[in-house]
Each structure stands twice: as C-alpha cells, then as structure tokens.
Symmetry: C2
Amino acid sequence: MSKPGFTRADPDARRLSLMEATARVLARDGASGASVRAIALEAGISPGLVTHHFGGVDALIAATYAHVGEQVSAALDMAVRRAGNDPRARLMAYVTASFAPEIADRGLLATWTAFWGLVIARGEIAELHDAQYARYRDELEALLAGCGLRPTARRRATIAIAALVDGLWLELCLSPGVLDAEEARAIAETQIAALLAA
Amino acid sequence: MSKPGFTRADPDARRLSLMEATARVLARDGASGASVRAIALEAGISPGLVTHHFGGVDALIAATYAHVGEQVSAALDMAVRRAGNDPRARLMAYVTASFAPEIADRGLLATWTAFWGLVIARGEIAELHDAQYARYRDELEALLAGCGLRPTARRRATIAIAALVDGLWLELCLSPGVLDAEEARAIAETQIAALLAA
DNA sequence: TTGCTTGTTGTACGATCGTATAATAGGCTG
DNA sequence: CAGCCTATTATACGATCGTACAACAAGCAA
C-alpha cells in the first residue's frame, strides 16, 4: 500500500472539480486571471487535464457558466419551494433569493462578466446565454401567472421584473455600499406590487 | 517637403485617439483581445506609445472607461435638453436615450464588461465605477425631483429606475432578439408612471 | 498476477503578452 | 539655420499564454 502519486478520478467528478476551480479563480482574479495554469493550480492538477477534459479554455469557461447557472437556478427554486403555496409569497421568495449573499456575490458577477466577454468575442456562445436567460424568464413568468396576471400583460411584466432584479443584483455586486439586500428587496416588492395591481 | 515618417501629435489628441482605438478593439474582440499591440495597430501607432502616454494597459482601459462614460453622459444630457421644459418629458427623454442604438450597443457593453473585470481584479479601480455611477444616479434623481417626487421617496425611486434601465439596457445588448428599444421604453414608462403616482 | 485502457503528468513549443530601452526624427525656439 | 525637446519608432527581454505530445501509472478485467 504505497501512496499513489495521483488519484485517478471519475471523468465527471474531475470535470466538476475543474469547473468549481474555474469559478473560484474567476471570483478571485477576474477574467484576465483565469488562465489554464491558474485554474489547474487551483484544482490541484496538471494543466494538461484542461485540454484533455474540455478541449480548451473557452469550453471550460462556457461549461462553468452553465454549471454556475444551474446552481443559481437551483437555489432560486429551493427558495420558492420553501415559500409555501401562496403565489405572491412564492414570487417574492424567487426575487428576494436573488439578493441573498451567495447570489449577489462579486465572485458570481466575475463568472458572468467573463462569460459576457466571451459572448462578444465569439458569437456562437451567445446562444448559451439566450437559452439560460429564456429559462430564467420562463420561471418568472410562471410565478406571475400564479399571481393571476392576465396572459397579455405577462410578457412585459416578466421582462420588467427580470430587468429590475438584474439591475439591482448588478449594483449590489459592484457597489455593496450603495444599497443592501433588504433595500433591494423592498424596491422590488414595491415595483411588483404596482405591476400586479394594474 | 518630404513626407514625414510619422506625425508628431499633441499629447492630448494622441491620448484621445488611443482611447477611441481601445473602445473599437474592445467592441470588436472583447476584453481578452484588447492587448497593447492590438490597440496600437488599431490606432495606427507603435505599441510603445501606450506605455509612454498612459504608463500601462490598465490605465488606458480605465481612461477609456471614463471617456466613454463621459460620452454616454453627454448623449443623455443632450436628449434631456432637446426634450423641452416638461419635467416628465425630460425624465422620459433621459431614460429613452439609454435605449438608443448608439447606447444600447454591444460594443459599449464590451467596454463596460472589460471594466467590470478590472473592478474585480483590482479593487482600487472600483472607486472610478462608484463615482461614475453616483453621478448617473444624481442626474436621475434631479429629474425625478423635477417631476415633484417628494424627497423621502426619491432615493429608492432613483435606485429602482436606474436598476430597471440598466437591466433593460443589458438585455438589449446581450439578446437584441428578445426585445427592442421601443418595448424597453414602454416598459420603463409604465414603471415610472407607477413610481410617480405613489 | 498480467495486460489493457485511459486518466494524468511533465515538458516543450511557438505565439503573444506587457513593458523597458536606445535610437530616430518631427517640429518648435532662438 | 542650428539646436533642443520629446513624441515616436523599433527592438528586445522575460514572463506567460494555450495547446500538443509522449511517457507514466492507476485501476479494472481476466
């Protein structure tokens, strides 16, 4: 029983740990610091594995974006499930969860920022963003439907709330001193109330 | 009268042309493509001039951000001035101008994205963002005051509208297919009406 | 145990990065 | 015209980039 020089991991597990390492590097050093070597060092493995498992750095960042998006989506869904059955409470839980410390996080913004940079530089990646954002909007629209908003008004209300939440989230990440999560929640609640009253 | 190998430009003019070249490169190739050599090539000068005039690439990008911010601010002010004297019309002109093709532009988003990346990687640059965004919010708040919004409600209304406009602008840049400038304007108008009615 | 598959490492290569530096030359001053 | 100032160029250097590739070894199958 000699100690092995390295452990042979399941490919999926290795891919997962690489994506998590990428997210950490992105959060710490920003997009320009997310090199293959830095990510491999963070994950505790050799740089060559990035090519082996993902074929390239762009693909790894794209996969990381998708993975982080899944996590965020899961966290929001969890918040909705915990909110009980009242439609209005469910909607507010969804929105409020976006301002929780784990979501309105500068590191998470770094992941998004890096990905937006890829969207611009390489057009084909834009489809990934569109798909992810469409799903986000669909969930929001379903919650709005539950609140009794009539179908013709749903589309614009969905876009409005999504934009408002995105803007509040962005400012919460970039300038935490300007407003806090509670105020963001209060602002969102006021606007949502106005939308549902119409 | 022999043709000169290069023209000796006024330092301020050269700095300006370098910032404009940086914005173009950022728009075309994204943050990762904005290297000293690429920018110098775009500006039609030698790479060494970047160091000479700005001392480094980060400073050039920061200066470009400030410059582009000035231009955007000027464009919004111009829209307000053209709107006449009606306070409500002035506010809507300010907001609507944010969705104009020159502002809701993917290239402009690239500049912002690159800068947000710097904000994360190098904390001292965050102050520049805070200052710029504070000025933006101040202008918005002044327009809201003109509409007769009582002082205690101004702060939150300002943040709400700023966030909404930012979110709409972001989505307009990233996924032009989802909504257009006119729909963004209509959504903003509805929300603003609700805020002013309260 | 033996053999095979393949995850993993380490190294190496060419390209490109940011920046420092010396030489060049435009353009104004006297 | 002579002379200075400095914007500008061209080159060079070390570091780091992404990726390719061959050798190694972990772990399962037989």
